[in-house]
Symmetry: C2
Subunit: 347 residues, 2 copies
């Protein structure tokens, strides 16, 4: 077998959820959008259901279908993208709950699925999804008698506890919702860590479940192990990989491993990243190619069959720093070619 | 429907293959590794089979299985990764032809599948995959009586016609293979464009088929169309998206579209990239998030339902430049959430 292995520790996801749940004053849901940040929405949702999670969030209706099939009928699945044209049948058949973002969506929902549950998404300053204050003011007398299940908004700067945007959005959310007797939600992982003022009735942790910043105590969830195809000795001055960007400064032993940027090992991380054999860091040399990476294994005292990219020491946040991005993008890039192995209780 | 659509023009892939085939002196194969650069190996291989392609290349045995199932038994499928431990059953059952990279692989192949076809991969200086000259010299008397179907190597710098590495690798390949009466292959897309000295018996175009540099006359193959979820007016000084990185310089109209970096719209391209409504470029504003992107649609004179990211004008190479990478990585990053639509003759 020459494909790399992506191991996903469901027990670690559950432990991260419990840790965030302990910090949360109300109910703690779980965000499983983007295929649970690339880790497999069906498996992750089912493992969290067993932990007691009752409320899940996805980005689009199609993702909700996958989660519903995995969970059965016992839980609530909210769609951040709301009720888009063409979504009606999926929303009805799979009992999905759209978070309506605009007057247009509210009208569409009421006209097509008049008795089907929905929530309301408000914009409190991020200007991304949700009704603006003036829009909400105009339609709230229409919406409220229809009994929305949840009223929510999203923080733009929650990863930075000192950003004044947090306080501004919190105040705006209070202003728009304080007189309403509807369950409320404002915070994802970052907002949970801002403290109970931000928790309201339901929180929506995502990246914290999957082991990433800003939840620094999170357990690592994903590991990537890559088989070595072959190993060679290179002399001083020999080059490795595309465009001859790396030249051996001394005689080196180079392994070629079977994964590349098609597996989400972002090209930009190449210059700063190592693969690990136990505790030994083996630097990537030359350019990361689509399916192959050169690695300097000179320091290894005995041959190994594979090397680790992601592990407890080189986390998604370390790789993100190396690639000039965020841990979320490391996870969602991992791609379809891995052998995926789920560890822990499958739920 | 709120997921984005990825359209893949199989006729364009075929046209690109024909154009490269016309430039090639020998047989022209097709590289469909990494799920045909993310575009769907089964569909692409079948469309090219109908065009007359007889020889396909994948990275690993598991990819070969997908291609074999799509093609039936009439064609040859080579595996660049060779014959890895654990691959034997797949290679046998799906009639895959490994390109053996090392003495270890040669021994493994001969011991496990003594009469099963194979090829030989040589290293001519890239130091990535293949037997070194000294290694090849040591085993050629063992390998040649076993009747290898192909002997190949790969160029490290073929995208740059002036690089002296091309001439050096060509000379090394001649030195290692001139006395052999076995079909030979050295070139992928870049090598085809270097001229017939580099073509030998079989070429292996990849990126050129999919519309990317260095084949500048290639027809664009992939288009991405993203639905708008909602549109809002923002006042001077309002911010859009995570971390408030964009601030409206004048009153603007902002659309939020339903795709993000989980769809391979690499975060790093955000600052330089627009989405298109017909001929009108609408710049991305604020950070690309996982499932959503803010777009300045102020210039549009009438509402639209969706915007284009990839098209004939904003090609994979333009996006690659914007993201600081190469067109290949734009393609392989596209991800699993798209509605995929195949255009043209399905084969």
């Amino acid at each position: 077998m020459s494909t790399a292995t992506l191991s996903i520790d469901l027990d670690a996801i559950r432990a991260n959820w419990r840790a965030l749940n302990e910090k949360t004053s109300g109910e703690t849901g779980a965000v499983v959008k983007a295929n649970a940040y690339g880790l497999g929405a069906g498996f992750v949702a089912k493992a969290l259901l067993k932990e007691g999670v009752q409320t899940f969030f996805v980005a689009v209706a199609e993702e909700g279908v996958v989660v519903r099939k995995s969970l059965g009928n016992a839980s609530t699945i909210y769609i951040f993208g709301g009720h888009m044209q063409g979504d009606t049948e999926l929303i009805r058949e799979y009992r999905l709950t759209p978070l309506l973002n605009s007057v247009d969506q509210l009208i569409r929902h009421v006209e097509t699925l008049p008795h089907h549950p929905f929530g309301i998404q408000l914009d409190t300053g991020m200007n991304r999804l949700g009704m603006e204050p003036v829009e909400w003011h105009a339609v709230r007398e229409l919406a409220l008698p229809l009994n929305p299940k949840l009223i929510m908004s999203h923080l733009a700067c929650a990863d930075d506890p000192d950003h004044d945007m947090n306080v501004k959005q919190l105040a705006e959310f209070h202003k728009m919702t304080d007189d309403l007797d509807i369950p409320k939600s404002l915070s994802a992982t970052g907002g949970i860590l801002l403290g109970s003022d931000y928790h309201f009735d339901l929180t929506r942790p995502g990246v914290g479940l999957y082991g990433g910043f800003p939840f620094e105590q999170a357990r690592a969830v994903a590991k990537v192990n890559i088989p070595i195809i072959q190993t060679r000795e290179v002399d001083v001055g020999e080059t490795v990989g595309y465009s001859n960007t790396w030249r051996a400064p001394t005689p080196r032993r180079i392994a070629t491993v079977s994964a590349g940027y098609a597996d989400g090992i972002i090209r930009a991380m190449g210059g700063k990243t190592a693969l690990y054999a136990g505790d030994v860091a083996c630097p990537i040399v030359g350019r990361i190619s689509m399916d192959l990476i050169g690695v300097d294994v000179t320091l290894l005292t005995q041959p190994v069959e594979s090397l680790e990219l992601l592990n407890d020491r080189q986390t998604i946040d370390v790789l993100a720093e190396n690639a000039g991005t965020i841990g979320y993008e490391i996870l969602t890039s991992l791609g379809g070619r891995y052998q995926r192995r789920y560890l822990g209780d499958m739920g």
